[in-house]
């Protein structure tokens, strides 16, 4: 009854197109996830710093941003971008741009909280020592606080990257051909849902589990990222 031959027959489409994004469609899980992780983290650093800023308006704005996006489902944010971006820019945007924007904006709220917690985990004495040594505010942040904060937040950072990688599957609801959508396309032709969805579950698992193993290894070695 179960027929895993369907995987072998469609292996290329699932992996080359769906996972890597090197096929004829604009798509690919990794082609979306990697830029989303980098850009989301960069925006997250600014949001995390803004959450700790001395200026009350900046702190307030960052808090509203974080609380808003943490209180709304990602699916909702994807639909927002899907309708708002073409409306604002007055030109059609491909699914890739919409999905990337939605993930960066949404995940930055979570990355921001991780960055904030990481900075707060650095002992106050470190900043005082840096000041005593003559570092200016920006310098002590860059040379003393952030390197230590980065080391402390590495575990939650990798966990959030894994969350983001899994979340990219939601880009398929606006038609982006990632691994999940590729499996759907193959399934529409072959009608082998159990085999296909179990197979992509294993592919996602291999990716995310190897990420968390790497994180644990780095943690034990105690090296900064």
């Amino acid at each position: 009854m179960l027929d895993f031959g369907v995987i072998a027959a469609n292996y290329k489409f699932l992996i080359v197109q769906g996972l890597l994004g090197l096929g004829g469609f604009a798509g690919g899980t990794l082609r979306l996830a990697i830029p989303a992780i980098i850009l989301g983290f960069v925006l997250g650093i600014f949001i995390g710093l803004a959450r700790l800023a001395r200026a009350a308006w900046l702190r307030g704005a960052a808090t509203v941003y974080v609380e808003f996006f943490r209180g709304v489902p990602l699916v909702m944010v994807i639909f927002w971008m899907w309708f708002i971006i073409p409306q604002l820019l007055r030109l059609p945007i491909p699914e890739y741009g919409v999905a990337l924007t939605a993930f960066v904006v949404f995940e930055a709220a979570y990355f921001g909280e991780i960055v904030r917690a990481g900075i707060q985990s650095v002992a106050r004495g470190q900043v005082e020592a840096a000041t005593a040594l003559g570092f200016k505010g920006g310098q002590s942040m860059r040379y003393v606080v952030l390197p230590q904060a980065l080391r402390n937040m590495l575990p939650s950072l990798v966990t959030q990257m894994i969350v983001l990688l899994k979340d990219t599957s939601l880009a398929s609801i606006i038609g982006y051909v990632d691994l999940t959508k590729a499996a759907q396309i193959v399934n529409n032709r072959e009608i082998k849902p159990f085999e296909l969805y179990l197979f992509i579950a294993v592919v996602y698992w291999v990716l995310t589990y190897s990420m968390s193993r790497t994180a644990r290894y780095l943690e034990r070695r105690g090296s900064p990222a």
Binding site: I84, S156, S169, T180, P193, A201, Y209
Partner: protein, 241 residues
């Protein structure tokens, strides 16, 4: 930006009824999935800490496999993949009783059960080991020590991370729209489809989600105060995921 707002679409026609139905479906699927997730979470979270290697392995397999695969994939798996493998009478019953709702509920519950499991495990690990040793010294076996001592204390320690997980579950119930469960996001899209008023419909849906999250967080804050164990403010560390 030249967009003419027309908020009246939200209360004219069927929109109001759709939104209400959406809220009720979201709450129903989330509540049932929450019960399933908490049950599976307590069971597998406790299993991962007992002094019995096979049980620990089963718990670890469940958590690592279900937690590390996207919820959307599980939705498709439980909705499209599993029902054809069930016995014919069960299939007939399911197909006549909203299969998408039950598949979505199971997908949400089993996925979040794996995440709850980690919360509960960290709660158990935060309890001083002497509690377990004292229970054993009093003559409890492992099952009774967990049921009467370890799990009740752990549950009282983990209210804050469990709140975060519960809110994540509520928000993730929106993924069920992909298998056409008529929950809040689905209904929001339906209003958009019928009225071509995307911004108004999405605003309504977004605000309702925010209100639900704030309300649950407020209730859970009271629960937390009520169940906090004086003198035992354990530092339960949970990674999101």
């Amino acid at each position: 930006m030249g967009y003419q707002f027309n908020w009246s679409v939200l209360w004219s026609g069927q929109s109001g009824a759709w939104l209400l139905q959406g809220v009720l479906t979201t709450l129903a699927i989330s509540a049932l999935a929450w019960l399933l997730a908490v049950g599976l979470g307590i069971l597998s979270g406790a299993m991962r800490t007992v002094p019995l290697a096979p049980l620990r392995a089963i718990g670890a397999f469940y958590v690592e496999f279900f937690r590390n695969v996207p919820l959307l994939v599980w939705m498709f798996f439980w909705y499209f993949g599993v029902p054809p493998l069930l016995p014919q009478p069960v299939q007939d019953w399911v197909f006549n009783h909203h299969p998408e709702f039950w598949a979505g509920m199971v997908a949400l519950g089993v996925y979040h059960g794996a995440r709850f499991s980690e919360v509960i495990r960290s709660g158990i690990l935060a309890i001083p080991r002497t509690q377990f040793e004292a229970s054993v010294a009093l003559g409890f076996n492992v099952w009774r020590a967990y049921r009467l001592v370890i799990v009740p204390i752990a549950l009282r320690l983990i209210v804050p991370p469990a709140t975060n997980e519960s809110l994540a579950l509520l928000k993730n119930s929106s993924v069920a729209l992909t298998i056409s469960v008529a929950e809040l996001t689905f209904q929001t899209r339906q209003i958009e489809t019928y009225t071509a008023r995307a911004i108004e419909a999405l605003t309504a849906g977004t605000l309702i989600y925010l209100v639900m999250c704030v309300a649950i967080a407020a209730v859970m804050a009271r629960v937390e105060r009520h169940f906090a164990i004086p003198g035992l403010i354990a530092r339960v560390r949970v990674e999101p995921g």
